[in-house]
Symmetry: C2
Subunit: 478 residues, 2 copies
């Protein structure tokens, strides 16, 4: 117990682990290495900053470096861990000026997150083209879409910001139209955000409906919501190329309706992948999505090396198998559990249910578990699915809104496998009922008998979730 607990990455998972460890083991040392300058920022808040719903970039930071320092955590920014020697229990750290040092550890947590993939596109080399996976990109986008004379430099009020990049984007003429490449949830959120900034917005999605992991009902409903606010949604529309010399001028779209759409901005959100380079050569086991495979306590296949957050797998509550669904709560929860475990109190990181929620203007959408038919079959289930549309409140109560609920169950056992919900009145939060039922291995018959709240302003006698369970149960009984 002579060497410190070493954490690589100072965002949700890493700082949750370090903070919890220090609280539980105040006599022991923890060192956190962060290759960049940003720490503890709300990735999920960036679209809302760009939309203008959030005034200051600093609002998106949960902890400042001095907060971290006050917690007794030895935080070293600008320090990239470039190698791990699991036999010697030592990491190699490289600072921005090229200096290399070694740091021994008792336990190591890899919390290096993920990075945006750009597909075939050269986003970096083209003005007006962006990915949105860090705060510097958010600041740059915010400056780019502002009128050069109207930009408020106080928006990017954090010292870590890449000022030169902000200034360069600010100086360019404000764009009038944008191609959002990819209709996942970042794409949907950015489409809303840039509509709020008065751009003409096109969303291009490779497959037949937006938000592929949310299923077709939700995807179509969100498309309608975007369309109603003036966003042009192109489905079955893979973008083949970003066109332009210095600045973006158009996107080339393939598929059956191949076309070239002129734009003066592009935001590419086609996916992310886990940052695992520092473990190259260690022989660590990887899992789905190339993420670091961990057990139910967040342990990797290397001794005394843990992983958590967007770079790590998590066990799926339905399949019991490792899965990669990088989201904020998973990272925070796993970090906290691992900090507790390393401090001496073994604590499971918890399963994931694949719960996710997103909004498009006033339309809320959420999903949980296994919705995709092929995925369910691959996991050994015989999936049966029903979709209902039901009111969010008693029919006579003002504001009752049509709410779509899809439930998927296993034919043999009746077990609830997954669900989705879309609507405009308290729709997304209802997914938590299904997430809880899934984690409790409930059958659809058990869900149908749940004593959910009934009160006319919030729910009809039969909540939309119960209506869906009734209908799916009827189908299972046939």
């Amino acid at each position: 117990m002579s060497d410190p607990f070493v954490v690589v990455g100072a965002d949700a998972a890493g700082l949750s682990a370090a903070s919890k460890f220090r609280r539980e083991a105040p006599d022991r040392e923890v060192v956190v290495f962060e290759k960049g300058q940003w720490i503890s920022y709300a990735y999920c808040g960036m679209p809302y900053f760009i939309a203008g719903y959030v005034d200051r970039m600093s609002d998106l930071l949960s902890l400042s470096p001095s907060d971290v320092d006050e917690r007794g955590i030895d935080l070293r920014r600008g320090s990239e861990v470039v190698g791990v020697d699991p036999d010697a229990k030592r990491v190699t750290v490289e600072t921005a000026d090229g200096n290399r040092t070694e740091q021994a550890y008792d336990d190591l947590l890899v919390a290096t997150g993920a990075r945006a993939t750009t597909g075939p596109f050269d986003v970096r080399g083209l003005d007006g083209a962006f990915t949105l996976h860090d705060m510097d990109a958010a600041a740059a986008i915010d400056a780019y879409v502002a009128d050069p004379d109207a930009y408020d430099p106080d928006r990017a009020d954090v010292s870590a910001v890449d000022r030169e990049r902000v200034e360069r984007n600010r100086a360019m003429p404000a764009p009038e139209s944008v191609a959002v490449v990819g209709g996942g949830y970042v794409g949907v959120e950015v489409a809303e955000a840039l509509t709020e900034r008065a751009l003409s917005v096109h969303v291009f999605h490779r497959s037949g409906h937006l938000l592929s992991p949310f299923g077709e009902t939700v995807g179509n409903r969100v498309e309608d919501a975007l369309d109603a606010e003036g966003v042009t949604v192109h489905t079955d529309a893979p973008v083949d190329a970003l066109v332009g010399d210095d600045r973006i001028e158009a996107v080339e779209v393939g598929g059956d309706d191949a076309e070239t759409v002129p734009v003066d901005m592009a935001v590419v959100g086609v996916g992310i992948r886990p940052n695992t380079d520092l473990l190259d050569g260690t022989g660590v086991d990887l899992g789905p999505g190339g993420a670091i495979r961990v057990d139910d306590h967040g342990r990797t296949s290397l001794p005394d090396v843990y992983a958590a957050g967007d770079c790590a797998t998590a066990r799926h509550a339905v399949t019991g198998e490792p899965d990669w669904t990088p989201l904020g709560l998973t990272a925070n929860r796993a970090g906290r559990a691992i900090g507790t475990t390393i401090a001496g109190d073994p604590t499971p990181v918890g399963d994931i249910a694949g719960t996710a929620a997103v909004k498009a203007f006033d339309t809320e959408a959420a999903r949980v578990g296994i919705l995709d038919r092929d995925a369910a079959v691959d996991a050994g289930f015989d999936p049966v699915s029903e979709t209902v549309t039901a009111g969010s409140r008693s029919g006579y109560y003002p504001g009752a809104a049509e709410t779509d609920v899809t439930l998927v169950a296993d034919r043999d056992t009746g077990r609830l496998l997954g669900g989705s919900i879309a609507g405009t009145d308290r729709a997304a939060i209802r997914i938590d009922t299904l997430a809880t039922a899934i984690e409790a291995d409930m059958t659809v018959a058990e869900v149908e008998r749940l004593d959910l709240a009934y009160a006319p302003p919030f729910s009809p006698v039969w909540d939309p979730v119960l209506v869906a369970a009734k209908v799916l149960n009827g189908t299972l009984d046939e």
Copy 2:
């Protein structure tokens, strides 16, 4: 199988049972006796009708007599079942004109509901004094609070309405101030409703905080919400008498601050009790609250006699014991299950979790399970409780609102026993997560690890429910 399925009472439980029975057993006969003229009305919607949120009384009816007829149900209104002979399997029916007939049954469902108790008060004999437990009372209140010249008779647009009573109340001068006697959820809803109708509203509650079954945190928060809209809430203020000769003139309040408060209207909501008179002398087992005791399929202690809805017990998910918590979903669900059972497919009525929700203007409140310390001890638990206040959304997202969550767990097992939630942003619907966890017998540690939805517009990384579970878990670990 020669005699029909006989149902007593044509509201939620009775008509759910009859409808489901006819769908499942289309060749068999079902007769529904209803002593009054009203059927299938939304009791829970009456305060919102009085408030003016609902324009027409007919909006509160789910089914008309002709709808029921189309379902192949033999509905007989104005027919009171005054006796049951369980040995002969026969009921005695009395019509309004005093005629008595006998009706044989194969199976009998008692779904007679509950009626408002009035405590020591003579509500009937005093103009301007009301209870609110049927549609005629709602119509009368609506007419009474209207300016005589401005009353819209189309509001009470249902033929069953007691016109004479409406006209008599309409003719009286509109009241200026009201005493709402009882601060349960009907009291809270009526206080909001009559504030919307521009009355000066006083609420008198016997104990120290409103909404006793919701706990002190919720009660106080709802009191603040009423107070902010101009309602005067008197706690520890038992009303001893309604004062007045023909019309109410004041209420006499006891307790430490005894006073006489002049009012020209009173609405008494001090409780309800189950309607079981028709079973007097049959020796049927009664349970908590004097309700008809039933098993997990809704069977009473009498052969082939079932009971459901506000007149019957239901098994509590936490204690496993019979409980009496009359609410709309319980009635609908039990009726539906009993209809299925009698049609030949035995179906459990489902446990209740005591889930309830209410709003006071923009403040939402909900509760589930066992919150009361004494009740938990009586049920054999060692209750530990924590209350937290947490944000409903990410802190940087506009509209994040303080949400109070109380959780109660058993010290030995960590099992979640109950919870309450209050707040202004999607607060009440979050109770469904706790209801599901309680019905799944989850521990607080399992609740803490739930993969609930995180998205800045709907929930912070740690939903208020998860924050409360974390804190209570910490206490349980001590």
